[in-house]
Structure formats: structure tokens, C-alpha cells
Amino acid sequence: MELGVIVVIVMALAFDYTNGFHDAANSIATVVATQVLSPRRAVAWAAFFNFAAFLVFGTEVATTIAKDVVDPSRNVLTVGVIFAGLVGAIGWNLVTFYLGLPTSSSHALVGGMAGAAVARAGFGVVQEEGLRKIGLFIVLSPLVGLALALYISLIILWSFHRVRRVERLNRTFRRGQLLSAAAFSLGHGGNDAQKTMGIILAVLIAGGHLDPSADVPLWVVLSAHTAIGLGTPSGGWRIVKTMGSRITRLKPVGGLAAESAAAATLFFTASAGIPVSTTHTITGAIVGVGATRRLSAVRWGVARRVVLAWVLTIPGAFAIAWLAEHVVRFGA
């Protein structure tokens, strides 16, 4: 295996690791905000289920990243282009991490891959249908998460509104939140680790180590889940604060509803091979819980800042990757 391929694989795993600490907040913010688990235990809980996700999900999202963003028949995805795409995604992630913005690593990666490929061969190499599907769910995933969280909240309220032992009920919801947080972490691991698998699959194909029709090898699956599992304990505490308490205040029942809704959304998108932002999804779900009360319960200033970061992610990563591809080509 040549050096370029090894470098990209290491970078992809490093990206996965940063994804773990960048997005750890999403998995555990509500559990920490509702004080169901201490931050340390919550991180360990999320890390375990991020790793265990390989037992639950297939590799549909990985295939989408490797073959549905840039047309594989045009032979544009060389090792250098994939490297530049990763530089774009990682660069954007670091910028938003520094700013404390919960943006999407998935969309950074898609933007990065597209930007590097376009820099190499023009807009014609981008797969319109693949990008349309991904773009559609940039909007739909938070909306679906929001609606599901709202309906789950309403069903819970309707089912338990006569219960007088509120403390006991809260204890039940706190236990339930452990399960919903685990489910959300599974969905997160399934969705996000597969992005790395997609990159490694693409570079192995580009390097001639795999046939273009090949599935993701098991060692790639295991190494991607290990990287995201190890990255989670490194935690992004700035983002935990934004997600868990600044958007809206949560009680255990609200956390349970938000995580269940987000987990259901991620389970669906992972099985349909759609790379979505776990950040978008859980934010939508948290807003949905807040909206059961009134819209003023949602802190829209923070939500607007988050939305702005979402809108900027694909163009931002695209631009960094576009520049990186030119640098790589000059350097070669």
C-alpha cells in the first residue's frame, strides 16, 4: 500500500476521531443537562454505544459517501483529491469547533469532497441526484426530529397527565433517558463512522486496492468505529453547553422525547443510506420539546446562530477543499 493511501486512511480516522469529540455533545448533552448522568459517565456511555453501532447498521451511508457524491466513473477521486477533500472537512470542523458552533461533520465532508473534485475536474463530476438527496435531508432531518419529538412529548403528556407522583414519574423518565441516549449514540455511531468508512473505501478504490463495486471491508468498519469511540471521551464541552442548556431548558421527560425522536430519525436515515447531521437532528428534536410549551421557550438567538453555521458548512468546507486541491496539485 503506497504512502498516499496510508496518509489518507490515517487522516480519515483522525477525522473520525475529531468527529467523536466534536459530536460527543450531541449524544450526551440532554443527559448531562437533565443531570441523569455525570459528564464523565455520560461520555463513557456514549463512547460505548458509538463503538457498538457496527453491530446494528450496514454500510449504506459509506457507499453513498464513496460513490454518490462524485461520479466514480469519471475517475476524479484520486488519492490527492480525497486528501484535499479531507483537508477541507477537517479545516472547517476545526474552525467551527474553535467558534463553539455545533455544525455538521457530515456536510463538511460532503462539501470537502465535492470542492476538491470540482477543483480538479469542474462541476460536471458532481452527482446531482446524490447531492440532491443529501441536500434534501439537510432541511428535512431537523424538521423530522422536531416533529417526532413534539409528537412523542404530546403522547407522553397525554398518557401521564393524571399521574400525581411526579417525582416517581421523573425517576422513570430518567431511567428511560439512559436507553434513549444509548439509542441516539448508536444512531450517531452508525451514521458518522460510516462517513469515514466511505472515505477509506474511496481511497482504497482510487489506489487500486479494491474493485469499484467492492463492499466496505470489515477492518475498515472496525477501525472507523474504534476511532469515533475513542474520540468521544475527548469531548467538546463548549458544544455541550450550547446544545444542552442554551437552546431550551430540559427535564428528563423532555430529554427522553428529544433523544428518542433523534434516534428514530437517525436509524431511518442510516438504513436509507443518507448521511445526515446528527447535530441538526438532535437540535431540531430539542427545539420540538421546547415548542410543546411555546415558541418563546426556545432561545431563537442561539438557534439562529446554529442555523447560520449549518448554511455555511458545505460552502465553507467546499472552499477550503478547493484551495487545498490546488495546493496539492502545485506541490505534486
Partner: protein, 66 residues
């Protein structure tokens, strides 16, 4: 009393519905279902507002935040 959720849910219903033609055939049901879900929420909030107008003293039931 004007509940701004009506407008939020209405916009979400229209936005989800408007995305339907962009969806690939096998997942076209997702934006449709999302649009319907928001339309139902819009109607529920409208009914809630109407019932509150009829009973000014009614403050609503518990919420997940209470």
C-alpha cells in the same frame, strides 16, 4: 392570544411539501409525511387557541418542562 407556533408549523408544512418533488422516488413519502405531520400540528394549535378563547381562565396542562 396569538400563538406563533401556528405560523412556525404552517411554514414547516409548506416547506416540507415543497421539497417533495426533489426527493428520490423511494423516499418521497418522507417529505409528504413530514408535511402532513406539521399540518396536523397547525390544526391542533389552532383548535387549542380557539378553545382557550372560549375559556379565558384555562392555562393549559403540564408540559415536559414542568
Amino acid at each position: 392570544m396569538n400563538d406563533r407556533r401556528i405560523w412556525f408549523f404552517l411554514v414547516a408544512a409548506v416547506a416540507s411539501g415543497a421539497l417533495t418533488p426533489l426527493a428520490p422516488d423511494q423516499i418521497r413519502w418522507v417529505p409528504v409525511a413530514t408535511s402532513v405531520a406539521y399540518a396536523v400540528l397547525t390544526i391542533l394549535v389552532a383548535l387549542d387557541m380557539a378553545s382557550r378563547r372560549g375559556h379565558p381562565g384555562h392555562g393549559g396542562g403540564p408540559t415536559p418542562e414542568e
